[in-house]
C-alpha cells in the first residue's frame, strides 16, 4: 500500500467538508451569528448600566453566568480527561471521536471563562486579579488553573492536529484559498511523517495526554473548591470535588454523544462513527450515571440526616420552590439515562442520544441548583427587603448572553470542522499502519517455522 495514495483517498473523502459550504450550513452560521449579535447588544447594555440589568442582587450574587461557566469548564475538563484516556490507552474507536472531543475541550475552555468575565461587576479592575493576587484564595488558584489548562489544551490539540495539517498541506488537489494553504503549511511545521518525527510527536503527545488528565482533575477540583471551601449551606461538602469530576464526565460524555450523532447525521459519516462507538460511549455513560446518582444521593442524604438548620432550610427550598427543577435534575436526569442504557434492546443510536440529551439538561439544572438556592438561603435570614432581592430570576440580558455563549460554541465548532476534518485522517492511517505491521510480523513468524 502506498501511503500517499491512502492519504489522497482520505483527503478526497473529507474534502467536501473542507471545500464546500452548503446552503444549510450558511443558514446555520447566519442564525448563530444573529444569536451572538443579540448577545453582544445585551452585553453593551450590561456594560453601560451595570449588573442592575441582571437578576443578580446583594444576596444572590451569582446566577446564570456562573452556572454556564461551571457547565462549560466542566465540559472542557471532562473532554480533556476523555481525550487523554482515549489517546493514552490507544482505544480502538478513538479516531472516530477524538477530534470531536478535542474541539469540544478547547472551545469550552475558551467560552467558559467568558461567562466569569460577565459576572464581574467592575471589569475595568480585572487586572487587579493579576496585580494583587492572594495565593490563599481559591479564586486565584482557579485563575492559575484555567490559564494553565487553556495553554495545555491548546498545545495538546495542536499536537494532535499537526499530522492532519501536513496531509492537507501536501494535498494540491484541494480547492482551497491560498491563505488557507499557507496557514496549513505554517501550522504543519514541516512535518514530513518520517519515523523520527512520528516517534517524537507520538512521545510528546503521549506525555501531554497524561498531563492533560492530571490537569483536568486538579483544575476541576479547584473549581469545586471555590464552592466547597466556603461555609455556605449546600456547598461546604467534602465530596464536592469528586462529585464535580463525576458530574463533569457525565455531562462531557453526553455532549460527545450528541455531537457524534449530529456530525454522523449531517456529514453522513456512518462509515466512521459506528453504532458500536455509541454503544461503548453508552456503557461509559451508564457507569457515570450510576456514580452521579450515588454521589448526589450521598451528598443530599448526609445534609438531610445531619439536620443542621441551614442545610434543612436549603432542602426545604429545593423541595419547595425548586421542586420540579430538583426532580428533573436529580431524578429524571439520572433515572431516564439509567433505564435507557441498562437495557440492551433500548440501546439504539437515537435512544442513546436522547439519554445523553436528558443527562445534559439534568446536569445544567443540577449546576443551577448548586448555585442559586444556596445563595437564597443564607445563614442569617434575609429580612426587610424586596422579594426580588431574595429570589433570583434571570433577566433577558442573562438569557441572551447565555444563548450567545452556546451559539458561539456551535459557531466555532462549525468553523473548526470546516478547517480540519472532524475525523482524524492521521489517526486512521496510524491504525492501518499498525494493523499492517502486526500482520507482517505474524507472516514473518509463520515463515520462520
Amino acid at each position: 500500500m502506498q501511503l500517499n495514495n491512502r492519504k489522497r483517498e482520505l483527503v478526497k473523502e473529507f474534502s467536501p467538508m473542507l471545500e464546500k459550504t452548503s446552503l444549510l450550513t450558511k443558514i446555520w452560521i447566519g442564525a448563530l451569528i444573529s444569536i451572538i449579535s443579540v448577545g453582544i447588544y445585551a452585553f453593551v447594555i450590561q456594560f453601560k448600566d451595570g449588573h442592575i440589568v441582571t437578576g443578580m442582587r446583594d444576596n444572590v450574587v451569582w446566577g446564570l453566568y456562573i452556572v454556564n461557566f461551571i457547565f462549560f469548564v466542566c465540559l472542557s475538563y471532562s473532554g480533556a480527561f476523555i481525550s487523554g484516556i482515549l489517546h493514552f490507552f490507544r482505544t480502538p474507536w478513538k479516531n472516530s471521536v477524538t477530534r470531536i472531543v478535542e474541539i469540544i475541550t478547547v472551545l469550552s475552555i475558551i467560552i467558559g471563562p467568558v461567562f466569569i468575565l460577565l459576572c464581574i461587576g467592575r471589569l475595568d479592575r480585572l487586572y487587579f486579579l493579576f496585580l494583587y493576587p492572594r495565593i490563599q484564595s481559591p479564586i486565584t488558584w482557579d485563575i492559575i488553573a484555567i490559564i494553565t489548562d487553556l495553554v495545555g489544551c491548546f498545545i495538546y490539540l495542536y499536537l494532535t492536529f499537526i499530522p492532519d495539517f501536513a496531509i492537507l498541506r501536501d494535498s494540491p488537489d484541494l480547492k482551497l484559498p491560498v491563505w488557507r494553504k499557507k496557514l496549513y503549511k505554517f501550522l504543519a511545521i514541516n512535518y514530513q511523517d518520517t519515523p523520527d518525527q512520528r516517534k517524537r510527536l507520538h512521545n510528546t503527545t503521549s506525555i501531554m495526554s497524561k498531563m492533560v488528565i492530571a490537569m483536568a482533575i486538579v483544575a476541576y477540583t479547584v473549581l469545586a473548591w471555590i464552592f466547597s471551601l466556603t461555609l455556605q449551606p449546600g456547598w461546604n461538602s467534602t465530596i464536592f470535588a469528586p462529585d464535580f469530576i463525576v458530574a463533569g464526565l457525565y455531562s462531557g460524555i453526553s455532549v460527545i454523544i450528541i455531537a457524534m450523532y449530529l456530525i454522523r447525521k449531517y456529514f453522513k459519516l456512518e462509515k466512521y462513527i459506528l453504532k458500536s462507538h455509541f454503544i461503548m460511549a453508552a456503557m461509559v455513560l451508564l457507569v457515570l450515571s450510576l456514580l452521579f446518582g450515588y454521589f448526589t444521593f450521598s451528598d443530599y442524604f448526609a445534609k438531610w440526616f445531619s439536620h443542621k438548620i441551614a442545610d434543612i432550610d436549603l432542602l426545604k427550598t429545593l423541595f419547595g420552590h425548586y421542586f420540579w427543577m430538583f426532580i428533573l435534575a436529580n431524578y429524571v436526569g439520572f433515572i431516564i439515562p439509567l433505564i435507557i442504557l441498562s437495557f440492551k434492546k433500548l440501546r439504539t443510536i437515537k435512544l442513546i442520544t436522547f439519554a445523553a440529551l436528558i443527562a445534559v439538561i439534568g446536569l445544567w439544572l443540577n449546576r443551577y441548583l448548586i448555585v442559586v438556592p444556596t445563595l437564597e438561603t443564607p445563614y442569617l435570614p434575609i429580612q426587610d427587603t424586596r422579594p426580588e432581592f431574595i429570589h433570583y430570576t434571570a433577566t433577558w440580558i442573562e438569557w441572551s448572553l447565555s444563548f450567545a455563549g452556546i451559539a458561539a460554541f456551535f459557531l466555532f465548532f462549525t468553523l473548526l470542522i470546516k478547517f480540519i476534518p472532524v475525523i482524524s485522517m492521521s489517526g486512521i492511517i496510524d491504525d492501518e499502519r499498525r494493523k499492517l505491521k502486526t500482520k507482517e510480523t505474524g507472516n514473518q513468524s509463520i515463515s520462520y517455522k
Binding site: 502506498q2 495565593i135 490563599q136 512535518y191 511523517d193 517524537r200 510528546t204 506525555i207 498531563m211 490537569m215
Partner: protein
Amino acid sequence: MKSNLYNHTFFISIIVALLVNINGIAQENDLSNYRTRFGFKTVKQADNTRLLEVTFVALNKTDRQDQLPVFEAEIQFFNIFNDEEILLGSSKTSKEGIAQLILPENQKYNTDGEGYINLRARFKGTDALSEEEADLMVKELLFDLNLTEIDSVKTVTLTAFTIDSLGVKTPVSDLYITTYVKAMLSKKIIDEATISDGEYTFTMPQSFAGNPKGDLTISSIIDDNDEYGTIIQEKTVHWGTFNKPLKHDENMLWTKAAPIWMYVVLTILLLGVWANYIYTIANLFKIKNEGDNLTNEPRKNYSVN
C-alpha cells in the same frame, strides 16, 4: 375427592395454632395470680422538704417480668407517736403505681425516745385488693453543703449533725457521702468519702466548664442510710472553668502572606506543568528542524514503515 389437608393434620394444626392470636382468647388478669408489693421510702430533699413515697405494684407469682402498677389507690401517710397515728396527708398512686407526699421544711414530727421519726404508709384495701401497710423510721439529720473559695481554692465542705430537743448539735460520723456534678445526661462523681466528726472538706476539681453561664450544680447524697434514710443537698455555684486555648489560632488565610507550604506546593505544581509545556514546544522545534533538513533533500514516496 379426598382433600390433601387430612394427610398433614399435624402441620395444619400447628399453623392454625400459630394463626390464632393467643391474646385474642386470653382471660382478663386474674388477681389471684398476683401478689402485691408495697414499698415505702423517704428522701430529705435539697430544699429540706421531706418526700414520702410509696411504690405499689402487683407482681405475677410465676412470671417475674409481669408487673402491674396499682393505679389510683389512695395512700395515707402517718407519723406514729406512742401507738397513735397522726395523719400527715394522703396521695393517690400514679399510672406507674407511685404515690408521693412532700412535707414542708417546717413540718413538725413527733419522735420516740431515741429521736426516731416513725412513719407509716397505708392502703385501706378494696374488694379486690387487701389492705397494705409499711413502716419506717428515720432520724432527722441536718446535712449541709457549703461551697466556698478559701485562698482562691474552690472548696466543698460537707457538714452533718443531729440536734436534740434541747437544741444541742451532735456531729455525726461514719456517713458515706457521694458528691456529683450534674451534667446534661448523667451525674459525674467528683468525690466519695466517709464523714467523721460531722465535717468533710475537699477541693473542687478545675476541669468542669459548667453551663453556658459557667454555673455548676453540685449535689451531695447520703443514699439509703439505715438511720437517716436518703438525704440530698444541692447547690449551684459559678465555678465553671473555661479552659481557653493557650495560643490563639489565627486563620492563616487572612494574613498578608500565605503559609509557606502553599507557595511550595503551587510552585512545584506550576513548574512541573510549565516545564512540560516548554519541553513539548522544544520538541516541536526539533520536529520542524528535522522537516527543514528533509526539504533540502529530494522528496520520496512514503511507504509503510
